[in-house]
């Protein structure tokens, strides 16, 4: 039996896990909230580099602000929130990097 056939064979087993998944959703401790403000158009540099002699260089694909809050997955939020501008860069080695563009971390409680 091939790997693929074994994958197919075990499909459909364990339907009871649906209930477990739902419970896990209720007890998950974290949630992300949508950005509170619009993303800045140019918060990140057009190009980045790892420095002289380092092949890690890349160009900006897009950018935005990421905000995360500590709370419950059911939608209840509380505690503090973290927010940072992030740029998405295509790197010369073929990877894509998500880079924090600002040098500070914005905090706010609610």
């Amino acid at each position: 039996m091939t790997y693929f056939e074994r994958l197919r064979a075990v499909q459909g087993v364990g339907l009871w896990i649906r209930a477990g998944v739902a419970v896990l959703a209720l007890v998950a401790m974290f949630t992300i909230i949508a950005p509170r403000s619009g993303w800045a158009q140019e918060p990140c540099a057009a190009y980045i580099s790892g420095g002289a002699g380092n092949p890690a260089s890349g160009s900006l694909r897009g950018s935005g602000k990421v905000t995360v809050s500590l709370g419950f997955s059911a939608g209840v939020t509380g505690g503090a929130s973290y927010s940072s501008n992030v740029g998405v860069y295509d790197m010369s080695d073929g990877s894509q990097k998500w880079i924090r563009c600002d040098t500070y971390v914005e905090w706010f409680g609610f």
Binding site: R8, G14, I32, G94, Q96
Partner: protein, 364 residues
């Protein structure tokens, strides 16, 4: 490191396992590791490794190109490209926040979208998904999915919230997204009533180090209903059935996998470390071919992607010819592969914004 609470940092930490857990486990037998991951209440997930094939899809010729100075498009950046239901292609422009609809020869026929908060407006359209006759646009910063017709007309928008790195539309489960909602699961299943956790992360891959990281995993659904998650920090394909149960783990081929992960860890440090690099995607996209195989966009030596065959566990490289005439074809950027045609973003300083190359399966 930023002053985040440890508990919050741990939530973000799994994708940052590259320098720790991954390297520590790279040399261990996969079967032994997999047995440790299996939930006690479920059968042991099948575990394997892909082996690089003796044959490869290699670029043979150029079919079409969209010139970089073509005023009908003028891309700021191409973040994604996908085949449309009409046989043409759609490309997402991440810097100009729009989608360019093209015919099969890359002639732009319509451009839709703009920067903004409203319907049909985007912040960072980073992923495109073909969903039947529709195109689903994943706005990674707005964390929402916008559905367009094959002509580009707005259909509806599905607000998810938070941060999204990838998504898939499952025929029965609906929208599954890679986000931050559930720390121990790769995915969230999104419904009108809310989100539920889906695809539990194997225990071994749950890094506990205090590193702040974004999720960078990829997801795709094959025609048999299996949901495949490519763990971006482990370069392993985790397959789940329709109830979210792990049914298989298959590592990308060596030495590619270990080499890429080791090199990337060094480059992250060169860029300021994990406190500054919030995510690193070595695998850029995960796409399903018509025959059910998967195409992973990943760069390694002359390889610009892998076609993963779950039947044979062969990984067939898609390669760039070792020929100077193809030097201008990039190893990076967005791409789409159908087993014959390879659609790729052109070099930023090259002659084309997009190219279609014909490929041929040849012995290596």
């Amino acid at each position: 490191m930023s002053p985040l609470p440890t508990v919050l940092m741990n939530h973000w930490a799994r994708a940052g396992a590259r320098t720790g857990v991954l390297l520590a486990t790279a040399g261990l037998p996969f079967l032994v590791l997999a047995a440790c991951d299996a939930p006690s209440s479920a059968p042991v997930a099948d575990v394997a490794s892909f082996t690089e094939s003796d044959s490869a899809y290699t670029i043979r010729g150029l079919i079409a190109q969209l010139d970089i100075d073509d005023e009908r498009a003028l891309f700021g950046s191409v973040t994604a490209v996908v085949e449309n239901a009409d046989g043409g292609y759609v490309a997402a422009d991440g810097l100009n926040q729009r989608m360019v609809f093209m015919d099969r020869n890359l002639n732009p026929v319509r451009t839709v979208g703009r920067h903004g908060e409203g319907p049909g407006e985007y912040q960072l359209p980073g992923v495109l998904i073909r969903n039947g006759d529709q195109i689903a646009v994943v706005d990674q910063s707005h964390a929402r999915v916008t559905y367009l017709t094959s002509r580009g007309d707005f259909v509806r928008v599905h607000q998810v919230g938070g941060f999204l790195s990838d998504a898939t539309v499952h025929p029965e489960l609906g929208l599954l997204v890679v986000g931050m909602e559930f720390s121990d699961h790769y995915l969230a299943r999104v419904a009108e009533s809310g989100q539920t956790a889906f695809a539990e992360v194997p225990v071994r891959f749950r890094d506990q180090s205090a590193v702040f990281q974004l999720p960078i995993d990829l997801v795709a659904t094959t025609p048999d209903g299996l949901v495949h998650v490519l763990d971006g920090s482990q370069l392993v394909l985790a397959s789940y059935d329709g109830v979210g149960r792990l049914v298989g783990l298959a590592y990308l081929p060596e030495p590619m996998r270990t080499s890429l992960l080791e090199r990337d860890a060094n480059r992250i440090e060169a860029l300021g470390g994990a406190a500054r690099v919030l995510g690193s995607q070595l695998a850029r996209s995960l796409q399903v071919l018509e025959d059910g195989r998967l195409f992973v966009r990943i760069t390694y030596l002359d390889t610009v992607g892998l076609v993963l065959d779950l039947n044979t566990l062969r990984a067939i490289p898609v390669t760039k010819p070792d020929d100077s005439q193809w030097e201008w074809i990039p190893r990076t950027g967005a791409s789409f592969f159908d087993g014959d045609r390879l659609v790729m973003e052109g070099l930023k300083d090259g002659p084309a914004a997009l190219v279609i190359a014909e490929t041929e399966l040849v012995a290596r």
